[in-house]
Amino acid sequence: MDIKVNVRESEGDAYVVDLTGEIDVYTSPKVKDAITELIDKEHYNLVINLEKVRYIDSTGLGVLIGGLKRVREHGGSVNLVCTNPQIKKIFDITGLVKIFGIFDDEQSAMKALV
């Protein structure tokens, strides 16, 4: 079980974090490190692509919430790309659909940042 993290620059000063694999108590620190590094470098507009994430638990959600809180302090935003119904369901039942922008594709998520 592992998570692959790929960070790439996109339009404007936005960055995309591509995640592949499973985000749990073991792998979420790796995701947290990538997001923290971007924020520390003053990149506050992020798209986190969860299209290739098969599983996420509360620690993964916690990392995303923590990132969102930090970028909002600087007027930034975190949008998510998510098409997996099971993962969407988790955002839905936790009420996190109300605090994250969740989109079906990267283009829409990027457009909504601006």
């Binding site: 108590v25 073991y26 599983y55 638990d57 509360s58 916690g62 809180k69 988790i90 009420g95 605090i99």
Partner: protein, 144 residues
């Protein structure tokens, strides 16, 4: 009657017991093992995903309550009934938080998120904590 007592009154079709080290890298083993047991019943794929997540959250809770380093041994006991799976997750710590509310999540509190998910995904959740440890008893019924 509590879910545990109800389960005790019925005949289990099979019991699977697993002990994992209470460390983060072992949680995936627990959730996959319980998913394998759940697949012996007539659960849908979505229901098995719910069970996997609930069991992982219970194990994660044990690890986090031990400071996130090593929770000792975590015991997972699965009892398969005709139309229901009962899973007990037991550790030797005390005092997990089991009172999450949705409202607190929007305010950014994440420490109780796991417990909230367990309650949302399983049909019954029973919790005991004493000097010997903490036990979480969860059941999930097969949707007819």
């Amino acid at each position: 009657m509590t879910p545990a007592a109800q389960s005790a009154e019925r005949t289990s079709h099979g019991t699977v017991e697993l002990k994992i080290p209470g460390r983060a890298e072992w949680v995936a083993v627990a959730r996959l093992a319980v998913a394998a047991v759940a697949s012996r019943l007539r659960f849908s794929v979505d229901e098995i995903d719910d069970i996997k997540l609930a069991i992982a959250e219970a194990c994660t809770n044990s690890i986090q309550s031990a400071g996130g380093v090593d929770a000792g041994v975590i015991e997972i006991i699965c009892d398969a009934f005709e139309n229901e799976l009962c899973v007990v997750v037991r550790d030797h710590s005390r005092g997990h938080q089991l009172g999450a509310k949705v409202g607190s999540l929007a305010e950014g509190r994440t420490e109780e998120l796991g417990v909230f998910l367990i309650r949302a995904l399983m049909d019954t959740v029973e919790y005991t904590s004493d000097a010997r440890g903490t036990e979480l008893i969860m059941t999930k019924r097969v949707t007819p």
